[in-house]
């Protein structure tokens, strides 16, 4: 379903809904309805013209509507030419084009042992074993002949040969497994021949109907219809079969994605580097680290197939380098990424910069990120990038990598492997002057910042935030729960949390400020100010800061004193107070001291609906 959804993402809503409903329900009536709907589209909305010939030993004509729909969804303006039953060689001999025939883009041969080699179902009635083996060898010769004939009459036009699936019905599987002239051995040797033909001939490809059928169980079969009309598929089987077949043809007209941009935390490993530290990361042979390990293996394989990997991570670059070099179980090395963007810039910008460096268009990119926020930002600001995963679960992400056809190709050449190397040596190109509408995007998140005093109801979370937050943390003071309670209750203190809600749901408490009365009268010292790394890049700190300043102002505070204490992890906020208009009054090495006076009320950011709840908490 996700696959089809990606294929037709540029269809208008009505066509999209009709197709998805038809595929989901496996209803042939809905398939026909969807086909009528798609055929209403203008040519420009329907992709390239694509003329495919289907030849078969079983009846394909009844499948025409569902095959037509599947090819239309590639998307393409497909023309299907279905040859007469059992006339494979005759049809090929006529040539791929002629006075009355337009040139074909591809030819597909769908065959099965029921017609090719019916003797194999009843071996003891048909000269087992030698008679069966000799009939099998004749058939292998026939298959080779089909390829030769095609090459003579159609040259390099792509020829797709299906493997032969297990039969719709057969008896005695026990005995059939015991001999090289048994059914399954014969099926295997026919299919082996097909794989070899594809290996040896550049224009011959295999559509692995046998692999498809074994994955479907018997739900795809319709024994009665096979007897009645030599059409072996149930309704659900037809829909699955048609879209499986279309997937194999798709690389002829739709280029694969050439790059995959991927995040780090909770994808390449479990946990958040900036919060959990190296020791807290899950990666290795034990669950759940083994899920992330497997994701890494998939990515390495993609890289070896010529897909450029791009690392997009909001982290400190030095932390990431340390993690890659010191975690013993990592499959991926930093050098496996053609481009690495580890910084605090929006990922949409980083991806565009990476695209420029790799000299690829944005529509060559796929993207995986565990964060709803990051995926939504990419979707809105770089809509041509394919978002592969739908949620944060690493198992689902792994499944996405298994299921996706974004990187499908029909060839694996030396050039593909070489390309990976080329990505790295290319000169960086000037990054375009594209400006994001970041504020528009942030507004679309429908963020609400609920400001609440620190109190018994949130002390646990506050202590947890103080213990774990490293990056957006001005002083990194690891106060205990009791210490926080004492500071918050002290006379003149302002201690607030920010609870974030957005269109994805409740994000919980992600910001904290603790300010205590200073030595000077009417002064306030910012003891701690932090934002969880989950919420970085959304400007929520400005809401927290506005709430703090406005309360201080109401209390008659006239001077704010603040510190930035460098820790090696919090360079992100090294100039936070400078940007807020503070004046630096002291700076010795790792500690900078600031003052702000006089105070003036501050507006909340325009993209956040701030809800101040003085009595909550």
């Amino acid at each position: 379903m996700d696959r089809v959804r990606h294929w037709i993402e540029h269809f208008p809503d009505r066509q999209k809904a009709a197709v998805l409903e038809a595929v989901e329900s496996s209803s042939l009536a809905r398939i026909r309805h969807a086909l009528r709907t798609v055929e209403e589209l203008e040519a420009t909305q329907r992709g390239p013209a694509f003329r495919v010939e289907l030849l078969g030993t079983y009846s394909l004509e009844p499948l025409r509507p569902v095959l037509q729909l599947a090819l239309n969804c590639l998307p393409s303006r497909a023309t299907l030419e279905i040859g007469p039953l059992d006339a494979i060689e005759t049809r090929i001999a006529q040539g791929a084009s002629g006075a009355e025939r337009e040139a074909l883009d591809a030819r597909v041969v769908l065959w099965r042992t029921e017609e090719l080699l019916p003797e194999v179902f009843y071996p003891f009635s048909n000269g087992f074993p030698d008679g069966i083996i000799s009939r099998r060898d004749q058939l292998l010769g026939r298959i080779e002949g089909v390829v030769r004939l095609h090459q003579q009459t159609a040259g390099e036009m792509p020829l797709f040969l299906s493997t032969v699936p297990p039969p719709v019905g057969s008896s005695n599987p026990v005995l059939a497994a015991q001999h090289r002239a048994g059914l399954f051995s014969i099926l295997g040797s026919i299919n082996q021949k097909l794989y070899e033909l594809a290996t040896e001939n550049s224009s011959v490809y295999v559509i692995d109907v046998a692999a498809w059928a074994s994955g479907q169980g018997n739900s795809h079969e319709a024994v009665g219809l096979d007897f009645m009309a030599r059409q072996p598929f149930s309704a659900a089987g037809q829909v699955a079969f048609a879209f499986y077949l279309a997937r194999f043809l798709r690389p002829l007209i739709v280029p694969r994605k050439k790059a995959l941009a991927i995040d780090l935390d909770n994808t390449l490993w479990g946990g958040v580097l900036g919060e959990d530290g190296l020791a807290g990361l899950e990666i290795g042979p034990e669950f759940p680290g083994n899920v992330h390990l497997r994701i890494q293996r998939e990515l390495l394989e993609l890289k070896e197939r010529g897909i450029a990997l791009v690392l997009l991570s909001k982290n400190n670059a030095t932390d990431v380098e340390e993690a890659f070099s010191s975690l013993p179980d990592m499959i991926l090395k930093l050098e496996d990424f053609a481009v690495r963007k580890v910084n605090w810039e929006p990922k949409s910008q980083n991806l565009r910069a990476a695209a420029a460096e790799l000299r690829l268009g944005l529509d060559s990119f796929a993207f995986i990120d565990d964060s709803d926020y990051e995926r939504e930002q990419m979707r809105q600001l770089n809509p041509r990038v394919l978002i592969l995963n739908q949620n944060s679960d690493p198992l689902r992400t792994l499944n996405t990598l298994w299921e996706t056809d974004a990187f499908d190709s029909l060839f694996l050449t030396k050039e593909d492997r070489q390309r990976q190397h080329d990505y790295r040596v290319r000169q960086a190109r000037e990054i375009g002057a594209h400006q994001d509408d970041l504020e528009g995007f942030l507004k679309s998140l429908e963020m609400a910042a609920i400001i609440e005093p620190v109190g018994p109801g949130n002390l646990d979370r506050v202590a947890n935030l103080l213990a774990k937050t490293n990056q957006f943390n001005l002083t990194t003071r690891r106060h205990s729960r009791a210490e926080v309670a004492r500071l918050a209750e002290a006379a003149g203190s302002i201690a607030l949390v920010l609870r974030l809600r957005d269109k994805f749901g409740e994000q919980g408490i992600i910001g904290l400020v603790i300010a205590i009365a200073g030595q000077e009268e009417q002064s306030l010292i910012i003891d701690s100010l932090l934002v969880s790394c989950r919420a970085l890049g959304r400007g929520v700190e400005h809401a927290l800061w506005a709430a703090t300043v406005n309360r201080a102002y109401q209390k008659g505070v006239r001077k704010l004193q603040a510190e930035y204490v460098a820790t090696g992890k919090n360079s992100l906020v090294a100039d936070f107070y400078d940007k807020l208009g503070f004046r630096q009054v002291e700076g010795n090495g790792s500690v900078k001291r600031y003052e702000l006076t006089p105070l003036a009320p501050r507006l909340y950011p325009s993209w956040i609906n701030a809800i101040d709840e003085p009595d909550a908490g």
């Binding site: 329900s25 496996s26 209803s27 042939l28 009536a29 809905r30 026909r32 309805h33 009528r36 009846s59 004509e61 009844p62 025409r64 509507p65 319709a222 009665g224 219809l225 009645m228 009309a229 059409q231 598929f233 149930s234 309704a235 659900a236 037809q238």
Partner: protein
């Protein structure tokens, strides 16, 4: 009433018939698109939608709405429910209560 009839809905959609077509008008003779190829597909669709398999002697008696309805009813298929059972457990076809259009769902096509 007609909209609650899953068979009528299926046939209308399958053959792209006008919404006001009467059930008794839907016969193989009257519907031009209902050729032998369409028959194969229609049987596949009926079997998938109603989660049944037709016997050999039933396959020859599916030449009109009325004939199909009679065959389905003989197989204890209720025609009120939607195709929700397409991915549900076996045997669900006798449960009407999950029909989203007709939560009380006790009507069948035989009440026409």
């Amino acid at each position: 009433m007609q909209d609650s009839d899953a068979l009528l809905r299926l046939l209308r959609e399958f053959f792209n018939l006008p919404p006001d077509v009467q059930p008794q008008e839907i016969t193989q003779n009257a519907v031009a698109a209902w050729d032998s190829l369409a028959m194969v597909q229609l049987i596949a669709d009926l079997q998938g939608t109603f989660r049944i398999d037709f016997d050999v002697d039933e396959i020859g008696r599916l030449r009109s709405y009325e004939e199909i309805r009679a065959t389905l009813l003989k197989k204890d298929v209720s025609l009120v429910r939607q195709r929700a059972a397409a991915c549900g457990p076996e045997g669900i076809q006798q449960q009407n209560s999950r029909d989203p259009d007709h939560p009380r769902g006790s009507q069948t096509v035989s009440s026409h």
